[in-house]
Amino acid sequence: LKGADALLEALRERGVEVVFGYPGGAIMPLYDALLDSGIRHVLMRHEQAAAFAADGYARVSGRPGVCIATSGPGATNLVTGIANAFLDSVPLVAITGQVATPLMGTDAFQEVDIFGITLPIVKHSYIVRHVEELPRIVHEAWDIAGSGRPGPVLIDLPKNMAAGEAHGAARVHEPRPGPAPPDEAALARAAAMIGLAERPVIYAGGGIGIGRAIHAFRGFVAESGIPVVSTLKGLGSVPTDDPLFLGMLGMHGTRAANNAVQQSDLLIAVGARFDDRATGRLEGFAPGAKVVHLDVDPAEIDKLRRADVALPGDLAASLAALVQRPRIGTWRRHCQRMKSEHAWRYDAPGDGIYAPELLRRLSVAADGEATLTCDVGQHQMWVAQHCLIRRPERHLSSGGLGAMGYGLPAAIGAQIADPRRTAINVSGDGSIMFNIQELATLRRYGLPVKILLLDNRSLGMVRQWQELFFDRRFSEVDLSDNPDFAVVARSFGIDAMTVENASQIDGAVDALLHHAGPLLVHCRIDPAANVWPLVPPGHTNATMLEGSLQ
C-alpha cells in the first residue's frame, strides 16, 4: 500500500466522505490516489477557501473538516483558515504536500516550513517521516482535532512519503481518555452559590455548541430561570427569541445584556473565555459578581478572570448537576424591563433599505432554520444583533480571528454538510472580494447557496471607527469603484438581482429563501449607517454609545 492510499483509507475508516482542496506539485500522489478512493473532493478556487469550507463543514456536521493543499504557497494559503479554526475551536485536519524528505531544508522549489509556520495556531502537527506511520498519524490527528476543546491539526506529507510503499508494522494509535468527570465538591459549591444568588446571569459561549451541550444547557436555563447573555459564538445556545435571552454582550451587545452583567452578583460562564470583545475593559467587567466557570479546557480557567468556582471538564455533565431554582423573580423582571425598554427599533426614515430590518425579516421568514454564514464587519454585527438564531451551528461567523472572506466558502461547506438546509452567506462589499472566486465553485457543483451582499461602497466598520475615534479622518475606506456585483455574479453563471428600496425587501427575502439554485442579492444600503450600540475601546461595558434607532 502506498502512503497516499494508506492516508485515504484511514480517513475513510473515520467516515470521511468529502474533502476540500486544491492540487499542486508536491501533493500530486495524494490527488492521484483520490481518484480511486471513493472520497468526494470539492475543488475550491483558492486554498484559503478550502480551509474555510472545511471549517464550515465541521461546524455544521460536528465532525472534523478536511482540507488539502500542496506545498509552499498552497500551504501558506491555508494559514488563515487554520488560524481561524484554532481561534474558534473548530475541528479541522489540514493536509499539506511537502517536498520529498531528501530536499527538505534545502530551500527547494515550493518548500516552506509549514510545520514551523503553523506551530502557534494548531492543536498539534506532524511531519510524516515514515510511510508506515501514516495510519496512526491520521487516526491520532482525527482524535486530537475533535476531542476536548476541538482545533486544527496539520499533517505535512512529503512527496516521497505519499508515493512510497509502507515497509513493516507501525505503532498503533492509542486513543487518549476523555475529560475527567466534574469534581463533586466544586459542583456542590457552585450549586450552593447559584441557589443563593440574587442577581445571577448565565454568560453563554461558543463552547456550548462546539461541545454539543445544547440540550443540557437549555435544560439548565429552563430549570433555573436565570437570564442568559451570549457571546457572538454562543448565539443560538438558547433561541434568540427565548424570553430569558437578553442578547449578545460586549462591544456591540445589547444594553440589557451588558447592564445585567454589570449589575450581576453571580456570573455563570459556560464555555466562554472572557474575550476582550465580550468583556470590554476587563477590570470593570461584572465588578460585583462572583464567577462560576465551566469549560472543557482547563487552561481557560483563571486565564483572564479568576473563578470563584472552577468546573473544568465536560459541560453537559457539569450542567446536569448544577440545576437550582434561585428565587430571583424581582431580578428577572428587572432584566425583562431593561430588555423591553431598549428593544431594537426598525422604523428607519427614508425609502432605502435598513440592513438590520432586512436581516430580521429574512431570518424570521426562514424561522431561524437557515444556516447563516457571515463575513466580517458591520454586516456581521447586524446579523448577530438582529437575526433569529435557533442553534449555534446555524450561525457561522469568524469570531476569534475576524477573517474577511470567511463567509462564502463557509457557506459552501455548510451547504455540503447539510444539503437540505438553505445556506445564506451575508457579506459586505469589502469581504466578498476576498474569496469571490468561489462563485465558480457554486456554479461547478450547482450548490444552491444564497448570498446577501450588503453594499455600502466602503469598508463600513473601519469607516465607522474613523468617524467616531479618528476625527472623521477617513483613510482608505472608500470602495465606491466597486464592480457591478450582479454582473460579476452572472459572469460566473450565478443568478443575481439588485435591490435598494425598502419596497423591495419582501421580494429579496422571497428570492433568498425560494430561488432554485445559487443566487446573489446585491443590496445597496446607506454608506453612513453605523452599528449601534458600541462600547468604545478601553471602556467598560457600562459605557455604550448609542446612535439613532436604538
Partner: protein
C-alpha cells in the same frame, strides 16, 4: 520572582520548540532551559526557568499540559527544588 516548570515530553519532532514557543507567546520570558533524558528513551525532561510579566504561572502550566506531546508539567515550588505543585 522567576519560577521553574518541569515538563516531561514525548520525543516527537517539534516537541521542544512547541513548548518553548508557547511559553514565550503566552507572555513569559524564558530565562534558562535544561534538558535531560537517556538517548534512546521515549521521553525527555525539560526544565524551564521562566519570568512572568504579571500573568499567573498556574495558567501557563495548564496551557503547557494541553500540548499533545506533553506527558506531565509541574511548577516547582520556590526554595524547594523538586517539590511539585499541582496546577
Amino acid at each position: 520572582m522567576n519560577r521553574t516548570i518541569e515538563v516531561s515530553l514525548s520525543r516527537a519532532e517539534g516537541a521542544i520548540v512547541r513548548t518553548l514557543g508557547l511559553i514565550e507567546r503566552r507572555g513569559f520570558v524564558v530565562e534558562s532551559v535544561a534538558t535531560r533524558g537517556e538517548p534512546q528513551a521515549e521521553s525527555l525532561i525539560l526544565s524551564v526557568e521562566v519570568a512572568s510579566r504579571g500573568r499567573p504561572y498556574d495558567v501557563l502550566v495548564r496551557q503547557i499540559q494541553r500540548l499533545f506531546d506533553v506527558r506531565h508539567a509541574f511548577l516547582i515550588e520556590p526554595q524547594s527544588a523538586g517539590k511539585r505543585l499541582a496546577c
